[in-house]
Symmetry: C2
Subunit: 114 residues, 2 copies
DNA sequence: TTCAATAGTTCCGATATTCCGAACTATGGT
DNA sequence: ACCATAGTTCGGAATATCGGAACTATTGAA
């Protein structure tokens, strides 16, 4: 299998990032990947909140995140490992990802009453 | 004409903001409204870059920005005045709008070679 | 009050996107 | 070679977006 396409940092576009993260499920997936630094396998993030995401949808979400430049995906044996590109992106668009993830975290906290 | 719906600040959702600003034209419109503090009439923002936006599309963009909580719209006589709600939103999601607008500004600068 | 001009909204068909089950592909173990 | 595991692609239904044409709201003039 040929290596997956990843945009270089300088090709990353703000609209792609915002679009990718404008889906709360995708944002949650990205937050988990970023939090863990490296999340092993798509299946590891297949449950968001109380909903199990169908694997075709999950595959699509991962692809959107990858093509937006937000994550880096590598195959290790039979599974895929997803790494956040948070650091790279932050170098280019300082504070962007942090403020987006904080915004979602704030709302999640409120909704859950935690 | 009954007053337009505007969400209160605490009802503003991150996904709505990101979705609204994930369209570069809409982001440009919002940037202009925010820059001017108050932009008079939709027609004042009807040209983005080198493209003139059809008025039905513009009306739609303004509606999306309004319903996301990003702008406040008031009719003054025959025209609409659009105010940025940047301050309110920043109180709730600190740094979010600033980093998004900066990201777009950075890319625009690069593309235009200015 | 009637008419015209201006500013924006709504309608609706064409196009594009999203969602997800089913079928398919890739890799590792036996 | 075969099976199991992990993920991707296909395809069609549901949904969203775009924009021209028709419509509505407001002001000002006759």
């Amino acid at each position: 299998m040929r290596p997956l396409f990843h945009p270089s940092v300088e090709d990353v576009r703000p609209e792609a990032i915002l679009h990718a993260l404008s889906d709360p499920e995708r944002a949650a997936i990205f937050a988990e990947i970023s939090g863990a630094g490296c999340v092993q396998a798509c299946s590891a993030v297949a449950v968001v909140g109380d909903r199990t995401i169908p694997k075709s949808s999950l595959s699509h979400h991962i692809k959107v995140l990858r093509e937006a430049g937000l994550i880096r995906c590598e195959r290790h044996g039979v599974e895929m490992r997803n790494h956040s590109r948070c650091g790279e992106i932050d170098g280019r668009f300082p504070g962007l990802l942090a403020s987006i993830l904080s915004a979602y975290a704030l709302v999640a906290r409120k909704v859950c009453g935690g």
